[in-house]
């Protein structure tokens, strides 16, 4: 099963390689990873998406906790939480598709952040499924370039998943 794990770490150099080294060294898979500073500049948060059965996920969280620079590990999948990704898509549609591209962007609450004679660059934020849906819809229109962030996640306040 897929898990989104949030890891609070000391913001020291080499900490990312300690974490990625742990995953590669023990044969775990990282599907997506995002790192950023928190409000405390000495602390960073990493959001890691990984897959595995319960045994593997238990090992992953324990192994992460064992690293000296790791302050806290939260398996978001066990909590009610909000997940977001962002994607920037550069489309070069044919003349007759241009209106459809803009319409799709609007439906998905995207924004056009750059345009040229031949292209539109659209920014879209949302959950994984939403991102995948817009990509699928835009694909026939001619996607020229495409970048996507790792997932970030935050727990909802005061609710525990039963």
């Amino acid at each position: 099963m897929r898990h989104t794990i949030s890891v609070l770490v000391e913001n020291k150099f080499g900490v990312l390689s300690r974490i990625s080294g742990l995953f590669s060294g023990r044969g775990y898979n990282i599907e997506s990873l995002s790192v950023n500073e928190t409000t405390d500049p000495q602390v960073s948060v990493m959001t890691i998406v990984t897959t595995g059965d319960d045994w593997i996920i238990e090992q992953i969280t324990k192994q992460l906790n064992k690293l000296i620079d790791v302050i806290k590990v939260v398996d978001m999948t066990e909590l009610d939480h909000v997940e977001r990704e962002m994607v920037l898509i550069k489309v070069s549609p044919r003349q007759e598709d241009k209106a459809e591209v803009l319409r799709l962007a609007e439906i998905f609450r995207g924004r056009v952040v750059d345009s040229s004679q031949k292209t539109y660059t659209i920014e879209i934020t949302g959950e994984e499924k939403k991102i995948e849906a817009i990509v699928e819809l835009l694909r026939p229109m001619g996607i020229k370039e495409f970048v996507r962030t790792g997932k970030i996640a935050i727990a909802r306040e005061g609710i525990k998943k039963s």
């Binding site: 770490v9 080499g14 300690r18 060294g25 906790n65 000296i68 620079d69 790791v70 302050i71």
Partner: protein
């Protein structure tokens, strides 16, 4: 007053109570070595190879329980420590390794003797540091010693750029360390301990499996109390030897691939396994699905990742073995009804029957020197009062099987990584810590050649280590596998005529060399060696064909054993297994 980084380094080590360290000089650590030159209370033992320095510090740590300390230079000096560090990491041995580094401004420049040792050792250290500012030095050293010893111990590396050793700072040594990100659990969960006690009280066929954690946490006394009170048989992993007295009536000896028949059998038939400070290594469990099929498992370990890593566990207890056992003993005595006396009698009877069915054995009538005979003689002559180091391979297994370790920290062996060349420098480290103890390295003719240069270290420092070389002219353990599994095709395991004359080597280093070629010469050679207050190489020319039995073929269940008495029959059986 401000002092240099090199001086801070020395002051910190003194504050940590370090008396001895091992190392090798080089360009970027010259400032430290220069300061060390005048030090009387802090002695550096110069080894002849950096790997030897790390193993020596490791042996020192295993024998004393204090962290071993190493100081080497950058680049090749640093990379030469890697095998030693990985060895210590696998066996959870506390160490602090200082490596020199090129000046901070040159880092990343492919400078002369530069190596990214922090990157290289990241997966084989418990933690590591690169000190970039002399102001951080004292704090980092304090943290390193703390991390090395806290929780599950392990090696910690500190990389010291040259300019950090020359720059000056005010020296303030922190009184204590508090890391918000590292707080191991020492006290076991009381509720779980109570449950465990109930389980022990009701078990019909319980077995304790004691691992290296018992030795590391200093819990031998508590373990003995526990085993004796509830009448529990104890088997030990390779790392657990000495954690429980090998000569005790409740001891079943070692379990696993080369464990005793009765230890493995007890596991397979048991209804309750009490795993203490061990991690269910594949050499212990054999085929994991067939391991302890009828047993519930109580697992006590300080490292949560060890629990439920390889086997399912019914009662997990995260905590320091000594602390958990102390509470468990109390609960057993005060809160649990003593109701096991009768059932234990039946279990003890069964265990005795297995002991009689398949005792540890070898051909005792042989005129050719059997390696097991040498180990048994060492045990007999020392009455077990010695520190035994081993190399890796057949020598290690025979030393584990035919010597009974009654005290913790008298058995120094590379269990997890299986490092040939470990034993001799480790013995040197232990001898430095205990100058008046008899320290013996049980070696093979292959392994001893991996760090043979350390004979110079032993001689110059007057460390009277004894090396018993079980010389079979082969890389014996690999040869054994080739004989059993590769149709006797001895690819690159036959050393034969290329084995050097160990007596002459010893003499060339100004040590003593002795040789025994007949069984009758074994005892006189050992007696003579033990009476000499100098390093001695003993060359025992042994039966090359001898194999380590019992043996569980890799991937088989641990009661699927091959036995000494039926070597021929075993080999047939083996073919059937394949």
């Amino acid at each position: 007053m401000k002092i240099t980084g090199a001086e801070i380094f020395i002051e910190c080590l003194k504050k940590e109570g370090v008396k001895h360290m091992f190392g090798y000089p080089g360009g970027v650590v010259l400032n430290i070595f220069d300061r060390l030159h005048d030090e009387k209370d802090l002695q550096l033992i110069l080894t002849r190879h950096e790997q030897g320095a790390v193993h020596a510090a490791d042996g020192y740590a295993r024998a004393t329980g204090k962290p071993g300390v190493v100081l080497v230079t950058s680049g090749p000096g640093a990379t030469n420590t890697v095998t030693g560090i990985a060895t210590a990491y696998m066996d959870s041995i506390p160490m602090v390794i200082f490596t020199g580094q090129v000046p901070t401004l040159l880092i990343g420049n492919d400078a002369f003797q530069e190596a990214d040792i922090v990157g290289i050792t990241r997966p084989c250290t418990k933690h590591n540091f690169l000190v970039k500012d002399v102001e951080d030095l004292a704090q980092v050293i304090k943290e390193a010693f703390h991390i090395a010893m806290a929780g599950r111990p392990g090696p910690v590396l500190i990389d010291l750029p040259k300019d950090v050793t020359t720059h000056k700072a005010e020296f303030v040594y922190p009184e204590s360390v508090k890391l918000r990100s590292y707080n191991p659990t020492y006290e076991g969960n009381k509720y779980m301990i109570k449950q465990a006690a109930e389980m022990v009280a009701h078990a019909k066929r319980p077995v304790i499996v004691a691992g290296g954690g018992v030795v590391l946490s200093g819990a031998s006394k508590e373990l003995k109390e526990f085993a004796e009170y509830a009448d529990l048989p104890v088997t030990m992993t390779l790392m657990g030897l000495g954690g429980f007295p090998g000569s005790h009536r409740l001891s079943l000896g070692m379990l696993g691939m080369h464990g005793t028949f009765y230890a493995n059998k007890s596991i397979q038939e048991s209804d309750l396994l009490i795993a203490i400070g061990m991690r269910f290594d594949d050499r212990v469990t054999g085929k994991i699905d067939a391991f302890a099929p009828h047993a519930k498992i109580i697992h006590i370990d300080i490292d949560p990742t060890s629990i439920r890593k390889n086997v399912r566990v019914d009662i997990p207890i995260v905590g320091d073995v000594k602390k958990v056992l102390t509470v468990l003993n109390k609960v057993m005595k005060e809160e649990v009804k003593e109701q096991w006396v009768e059932v234990r009698k039946a279990w003890a009877k069964q265990l005795d029957a297995w002991r009689k069915e398949r005792p540890m054995t070898y051909d005792r009538d042989s005129e050719v020197i059997k390696p097991q005979y040498v180990v048994e003689k060492i045990y007999e002559l020392t009455k077990g009062d010695a520190i035994i180091a081993t190399e890796v391979g057949q020598n290690q297994m025979w030393a584990a099987q035919f010597f009974k370790y009654d005290k913790p920290r008298t058995w120094l062996s590379s269990g997890g990584l299986g490092t040939m060349g470990y034993g001799f420098p480790a013995a040197i480290g232990a001898q430095l810590a205990f100058p008046n103890k008899l320290v013996i390295d049980i070696a093979g003719d292959g392994s001893i050649q991996m760090n043979i240069q350390e004979l110079a270290t032993a001689v110059i420092n007057k460390l009277p280590v004894k090396v018993a070389i079980l010389n079979n002219r082969y890389l014996g353990m690999v040869r054994q596998w080739q004989e059993l599994f590769f149709q006797e095709r001895y690819a690159h395991t036959k050393l034969d005529d290329t084995v050097p004359d160990f007596v002459k080597i010893a003499e060339a280093y100004n040590a003593v060399g002795l040789r025994a070629t007949k069984k009758s010469e074994v005892e006189p050679v050992l007696k003579e060696a033990f009476s000499i207050k100098r390093p001695v190489f003993m060359d025992f020319v042994t039966d090359w064909h001898e194999k380590v039995y019992p043996m569980v073929p890799a991937g088989a269940a641990i009661d699927n054993m091959l036995f000494y008495e039926e070597t021929k029959k075993s080999e047939k059986k083996l073919k059937a297994v394949k």
